[in-house]
Symmetry: C2
Subunit: 107 residues, 2 copies
């Protein structure tokens, strides 16, 4: 037990839940908001800005990268993380499609 029984759900349901799950942490919400207001991002800024340890920030960035929401570019010894706007839009569409199809049949 303790493990989500993914095999009993459709791929679409698992994917959608995964999207929500990655966005379901205030640090990751804050990271996305901060990056979007900088037009660029250096990880060390985030450590000061957010107030979590460097290792923790790096871990959260990894999850956002895993979803394809962030793309990282090496700039010397720094990393510049940016939001992948195509992926961003595609995810927004997926979520809206879920909301719209669900509500249209609602009692």
């Amino acid at each position: 037990m303790g493990t989500t029984k993914s095999q009993i759900f459709t791929e679409q349901q698992n994917d959608l839940a995964q999207l929500f799950k990655v966005l379901g942490h205030p640090a990751r919400v804050a990271i996305l908001q901060y990056i979007s207001h900088q037009n660029a991002c250096i990880c060390n800024d985030l450590v000061e800005e957010i107030g979590l340890a460097q290792a923790t920030i790096s871990q959260h960035l990894k999850e956002l990268k895993g979803l394809g929401l962030l793309k990282g570019e090496v700039e010397g010894k720094r990393m510049c993380y940016c939001i992948d706007i195509d992926r961003w839009n595609s995810i927004q569409n997926q979520l809206n499609s879920f909301f719209n199809t669900t509500k249209s049949n609602c009692c």
Copy 2:
């Protein structure tokens, strides 16, 4: 450790993350989809439909209720769970507002 450091984030960030988090489980996605296609819902149907134990389904329903997404009506010895459409729309708006404000400043 193991606990999210909510106190370092804004209320808005915590609330938004909480919304995403509750939606971030395939069983809860499946429950919402199933309810919306029934126009009404009896918990026992869900147990058969989803394939998780009754106690587990009841727990997931509780989380969705906690978010205000579901409203339950007692019908004799049954519960009829419905999606609260106002709350549903309000959550969809919150999410879209997050997506739109974030992307508008993106690099």
